[in-house]
Amino acid sequence: MNAKIFSIAASGLVAALAAGAPKVVANPGALPLPAPGTYRLDRIQAVPFSVVKEGGGAFPHLLSRYTTGKITLLTFFYSYCRDPNGCPLAWTAFEEVRRQIKDDPALHGKVRLVFFSFDPAHDTPASLRLFTEAYNNGRVATPWFFLTAWNGWMMRRTLARFGQDIAVERSGADDIVINHMLKVFLIDGDGWVREIYSSGFLNAEAILGDIRTLRIEQADGREK
């Protein structure tokens, strides 16, 4: 399979996964989300040191390359995940965030998206590169990076420091499902995790509000 064909296949897979995912919309009757900049996002934890491989990259990089300088939305995934409340939900949310950023020039170039695979055996740099190509075709306002850890030890360390749990469930002699509690990390330009979303509270409107809150905070220099 050449890169172009795989790229199309990857896009198709993602579209299929996203189509099966719950809609990521604000819930009717919910208390209204506060206006950006009117509330505080705590500095929950620092992004841990890690060494990663980027899709197609020949050399390892520090994770901080992908988590500082801009506001970062990061989640862990594996490309064959089909739990509708797991990776597909994150795909949908990231797609929607990216779409809304496209309509807001003030956020162009200010935000990056990161999908970090915890299955380097399957999601090799070569296959991740195809996702990268499929999702960064041409000039984009919000680049989307597809990474995985440099090695198994670094993977375990990274997941533990992020507080991202996984579990391997054997559902039959031939089937294994990798369960993980969906967590999406919002990271400020200094590499601090400022919000963590789970499937219970993951909608684009809330994420965009938090991103704009961090932008306002940055402009005001309140946390500097």
Binding site: G29, P32, G152, M155, D174, D175, V193
Partner: protein, 426 residues
């Protein structure tokens, strides 16, 4: 999926060191942000226990009881982890990954963090937070409620006057204090706090209100004869905007509304509480105009006799609500299929006193413990301290076993949490 079999096996091997216990089973009152609810048979019951002077090692302790009927140790205490001293052990809560159990003491304010994920049969104390008062000015960490990567802690009092004005404290999962959010004292707020209940889909955080250190550390007999002290109980609930952590609405709910239980049905937007002093069940829901309202919807026992409703437990399908009343030692079951009109359908005396109730996800097993507060528990022969396990067959509670905490020289049995099997045994 099969084509990923080998790779998945390799991944399983490489990541097994960090894989948590994802066995399934559970109670109905945990944070909605918590992973791996137990929807089958719980394996162990962790009981946060108050030490008693002159009994055993006299220390507060986490007691682990095997509750798996298939186990040869069924109904037996299999572990006891003393934390040192007596500081009014009270409630506990899991972190979002269910690997750690935070347990608080209302008197000295210490918070103990137990690792219950590595080996639930033998929890380990991994962290003690001793400075909540110094860091926040608050006293009495009561409710421990998981948010993604964080723990939200409801305190009961403050270090300034040990009264009821208090607040919420947000910690990271590794024990770093992040922020303090004081209970409102304006626009009808009375500043008291007690329980936390979150409905993520509604961006709603609901809190209730009890009393401060001056009262909960006072002898109950003395307290009820002190008219001035009896004025200092909470009479409100607060609906917070979860995202902003700002109070959005304050409800008048007289008589110390305690535990909060949201309906767990998908899309549901109502919660229950019970008021300790007025013996009522209250419903917090939306009216026809979409506004949040609090309504008195049922009476528990005879309020004139002050049965003192304490813990409540809602069934997973939101059709039933267990209500314990401390003074008469009864467990009462209400049919809440119509949330506006709960009807009592069953009652049973559990003991001379009863406080906490925990039910399995399927509602078939119900556990009770006895201690309310060390200075509020009954005295003499009425000071029974036990865990009792029952099966609920849909018509009656059938006792399965009892652990006498005094006979075992453990202390006063208080809050319970379920855990599953150890990861390396699944």
């Amino acid at each position: 999926m099969k084509r990923h079999h080998l790779r998945a096996l390799l991944l399983a091997a490489s990541l097994s060191a960090i894989a948590p216990n994802f066995s399934f089973a559970d109670e109905t009152c945990n944070s909605p942000f918590m992973a791996s609810l137990i929807k089958g048979q719980e394996k162990y019951l962790q009981v946060w226990t108050l030490g008693v002077k002159g009994m055993g090692d006299e220390s507060d302790k986490l007691v682990t009881i095997d509750v798996d009927p298939a186990s040869p140790h069924y109904g037996k205490v299999i572990n006891s982890l003393s934390v040192g001293g007596r500081g009014e052990a009270h409630h506990m809560g899991f972190t979002d990954d269910r690997k750690y159990l935070w347990a608080g003491r209302l008197d000295d304010g210490k918070i103990f963090v137990f690792d219950v994920g590595t080996d639930p049969a033998k929890p380990k104390l991994v962290r003690t937070i001793s400075n909540i008062s110094e860091e926040t000015g608050l006293v009495g960490p009561h409710t421990f409620y998981a948010l993604p990567g964080r723990m939200l802690v409801q305190a009961l009092s403050n270090s300034k006057d040990h009264g009821g004005e208090t607040g919420l404290v947000l910690y990271s999962n590794d024990g770093k204090m992040l922020s303090v959010h004081m209970m409102p004292t304006d626009k009808g707020g009375d500043g008291y706090g007690y329980d936390i209940g979150i409905n993520p889909n509604k961006n709603a955080l609901l809190t209730s209100s009890f009393t401060g250190w001056n009262n909960y550390m006072m002898d109950l007999g003395k307290l009820v004869k002190d008219p001035e002290a009896m004025k200092h109980f909470g009479a409100t609930m607060v609906m917070w905007n979860l995202k902003s952590m700002e109070p959005a609405q304050i409800f008048k709910v007289p008589g110390a509304p305690l535990e909060i239980r949201w309906s767990l049905n998908p899309g549901a937007d109502y919660a229950f509480t019970a008021t300790a002093l007025t013996s009522k069940i209250w419903l917090i829901s939306k009216d026809d105009q979409g506004n949040w309202v609090a309504k008195d919807v049922a009476t528990v026992g005879d309020p004139d006799k002050i049965p003192l409703p304490v813990d409540i437990s809602i069934s997973a399908d939101a059709k039933h609500l267990w209500v314990d009343t401390f003074m008469d030692g009864k467990a009462r079951l209400f049919d809440i299929s119509d949330p506006e009109h709960p009807q009592q359908v069953y009652e049973k005396v559990i003991g001379s006193q009863v406080n906490m109730v925990s039910e399995s996800w399927d509602g078939k097993r119900v556990y009770f413990t006895t201690s309310l507060l060390s200075r509020w528990d009954k005295t003499g022969a009425d000071d029974e301290q036990f865990l009792k396990a029952y099966d609920w067959d849909g018509k009656q509670l059938v006792e399965k076993f009892e652990v006498d905490f005094y006979k075992e020289k453990l202390g006063r049995a208080h809050h319970m949490k379920f855990t599953g099997e150890a990861p390396n045994k699944t």
